[in-house]
Subunit: 304 residues, 2 copies
């Protein structure tokens, strides 16, 4: 019984209207694993870093009891590095630097101790790597959640569709849902995407919340209305980690639990954007997360 | 005890990806009054039409027991006419024709029988006309709701701000909230706008739902996820009419009732976009509206 988080473990350098950072820890798996660790005990990362990543940065995970035996450390090589600058509206950004480094030929290794996984998040990485990781599990986990992005739709659509056939839940944003389906209406897009394999689809709409589709039902989750988004980097990964962590904790996968998991993930993502990188989500308490999810209840409850 | 709906009563010619219409009945007051009539008995329009409007079209209102004694019929003149074409995404449109006609020098007349009004919707019209109508009421209604649009912010901002000081609730869309406040964040925009006079602000976000701000609280209302938006014309007016009609019915103005009113307005707006013009909202039953509001409950309910 464990939860595998596959994804990049990396360095980011970020610039927003509020400030800029030097190289800080980033990567989909970093955000997702830290988020999941608040609600589930047996979180295990599969990833790769260079020699430059260092023990100190790895301790961000071990401090949260996250298993890092699936993180390969490549001697003499450098970690994946991404640098980006957000525009004033925080919804658009320019990529300044992308250095693939160790991610260029990442061959995911699943340690024997990970083979008990019942949940897996295939975090945003090339569809080929996602597929390989899944194939290297001797037993298919009970729930496979996949995150991806428009880049992979542009350069590896066929392989992406191959992975899609094997996943239970896909999480993408609204523009990506439109691109993948060719449909403008998100309801039609969801219908088309659910025909590609996943049983559930989550469409992330940033400040407009999220939509969950599956079992012929729809759930509309709000986003927390925020006065300021300090740094949106990693919010989607944090969401995905909180989402699957919540389900792993519950142990039962159904639409009702998925709704709660979407709220849990949204609450964690709302913390993520309050500071640069993983800073805010590293320092949370269970009580703070509980209070935030209660705000989500208050925000949307009504009687008619 | 009555509800006054001030606004345009007009002809529209519409073109959407699904088809086009000849001149059909449109105008903010038309949509809002019909919407309000499902939940409140004493709905009264203040507006102006030309001789071309005709008894047949006026019967759309009287059939719903809407009082039209405040609609001036100008002999020998023509009704306001707007023609527009929606793009494929349905979120943007081109105005093809705007003929002000009788609206050009509209001087709103409040019949004596309207002076018992306890609720008034200042539908989208020039701020000067909204102000005049309000001033002609001998007693200030218990609740004044104002709808407006970016056009008036461009050409009559000072007068618009003068009206704002006298209203209880403002309804605008997200882009308009940003324009009016100069703030990108909707939370900051709301704060700025609530400092301009209104006690409550509703920000309409189309397919992303609506936000209600007031009493230091926030309510996030979903939109119904729709496979197809046939014609978005009048959805905002329908929302405003359903909203104020619901409150007039309840008789008590507080945040809890406002939340329900937002849902009621959203439910009516979700019908509006299913057909051209007022066609769909003319033919509703109370039971259909009830079922639609129950869908809104189901869409957003969760346990955590």
């Amino acid at each position: 019984m464990s939860l595998i988080i596959l994804g990049s473990v990396a360095f980011d350098a970020l610039e927003t209207p509020f400030g800029k950072t030097d190289k800080i820890v980033g990567g989909a798996a970093s955000y997702a694993a830290i988020a999941a660790s608040y609600v589930y005990d047996a979180v295990k990362i599969v990833g790769v870093v260079g020699e430059d990543f260092g023990e100190d940065n790895l301790s961000k995970f071990t401090r949260k009891n996250i298993d890092i035996s699936g993180i390969q450390v490549k001697a003499g090589e450098k970690s994946f590095f991404w640098s980006g600058k957000y525009h004033n509206d925080m919804n658009t950004r320019d990529t300044l630097v992308t250095e693939l480094n160790v991610l260029g030929d990442f061959d995911p290794v699943i340690p024997e101790s990970y083979q008990d996984a019942t949940y897996i998040l295939l975090g945003n990485l090339s569809p080929q790597v996602q597929l390989t990781a899944l194939q290297r599990l001797k037993q298919r986990p009970k729930l496979v959640v996949m995150d991806t992005m428009n880049f992979w739709m542009d350069v590896a659509l066929d392989r992406l569709k191959e992975v899609l056939k094997q996943v239970d839940v896909l999480t993408i944003n609204d523009e990506e849902a439109r691109q993948l389906s060719g449909e403008y209406s998100l309801v039609k897009a969801a219908e088309a995407i659910l025909n590609m394999g996943p049983k559930y689809l989550i469409i992330k709409k940033g400040e407009h919340g999220a939509l969950l589709f599956g079992e012929g039902k729809i759930f509309v989750a709000p986003a927390l209305p925020l006065a300021e988004v300090f740094d949106p980097t990693g919010a989607g990964d944090t969401f995905a980690g909180g989402f699957i962590g919540y389900l792993a904790n519950k142990g039962t996968v159904n639409f009702e639990n998925m709704k709660s998991a979407v709220i849990y993930g949204s609450a964690l993502a709302s913390f993520c954007v309050e500071k640069f990188g993983t800073e805010r989500i590293e320092e949370l308490t269970v009580q703070q997360i509980k209070e935030r999810t209660e705000i989500f209840s208050t925000l949307t409850s009504f009687v008619i």
